[in-house]
Symmetry: C2
Subunit: 153 residues, 2 copies
Amino acid sequence: MKLSLRSEYALRALLVLGLNYGDEVMRIQAISEQQNIPRKFLEQILNDLKSLGAVESRRGVAGGYRLARPPQHITLASIVRYLEGALAPVSCVSESFYERCSCPNEARCAIRSVMKEVRGEVVKIMEHVTLADMCQRSRQLEGATTPVDDYSI
Amino acid sequence: MKLSLRSEYALRALLVLGLNYGDEVMRIQAISEQQNIPRKFLEQILNDLKSLGAVESRRGVAGGYRLARPPQHITLASIVRYLEGALAPVSCVSESFYERCSCPNEARCAIRSVMKEVRGEVVKIMEHVTLADMCQRSRQLEGATTPVDDYSI
DNA sequence: TTAATGCCTATAAATTCAGTCGGATATTAG
DNA sequence: CTAATATCCGACTGAATTTATAGGCATTAA
């Protein structure tokens, strides 16, 4: 049920880019240091996120990365789907990455039934939450004087 | 975000045992055939589920498996946690399998914040749903004359 | 022109996944 | 007691995935 470390890195990097959203680009090195992400690995990841259209880059001396779209137009679901594939716990209930499973009667499988609910809740959250939302939360958490551990949307 | 095939097999096997819950034991072979699960692999899995205390076995000629507890006392969460570890998408928001992540400030991480919500929903469903619930759904689905594809709890 | 930066490909170690194999052990039927 | 039948158990394996690292190429600003 877990995301890969790669996806975690991607999300952290995107969050940083979201918080610095503007005309300026940010160097990989800077993100890497700020977020404790291996530089060369992050290079791969950001490059990959370009194919998704989430970020864009400038090469050369003053090069770096920035978001390709405003953060409110980048949903968590789109990122995770791109990096991890299905949001569903089993692919036979995935809408975007459906694959038939080996069970004798898929249509009447009770496991499927439960997993659909799980998928539904995960999708509901991840399709609703944008990078902008996460930036806002980040700023709220940053501003909090006392350590915070829970909150609502 | 996906379960391993091994866990899928385990759930399918448990469901079968749940539907046949009683004094009788069921042979691995029978479950394997009914559910299209490789026999030797299933052997491993069921044996493993014994350690969890979900099933018990009898060896020898009239041997086989059955549930070790009534199906209403076996939650989906307990099974998945045992087989997969954390239900949370990132281990820094897991209650049962917490691990610190490499991000600079975990307490104020916006990603964590969202992932906690996801975990919450997943846990809510999986801790609530028991094997008995799944058996009931299975019987309902079985009884349905027309193909069904959606339902509520 | 040069130094900084991203781009691209290859490689590799470690881990996980999805099994398979073979025999040990327990149980029952005869 | 013995043979047949089942689970138990540990080792092994091949393939895929994950998590990187290394090194040179291409591009750009100054």
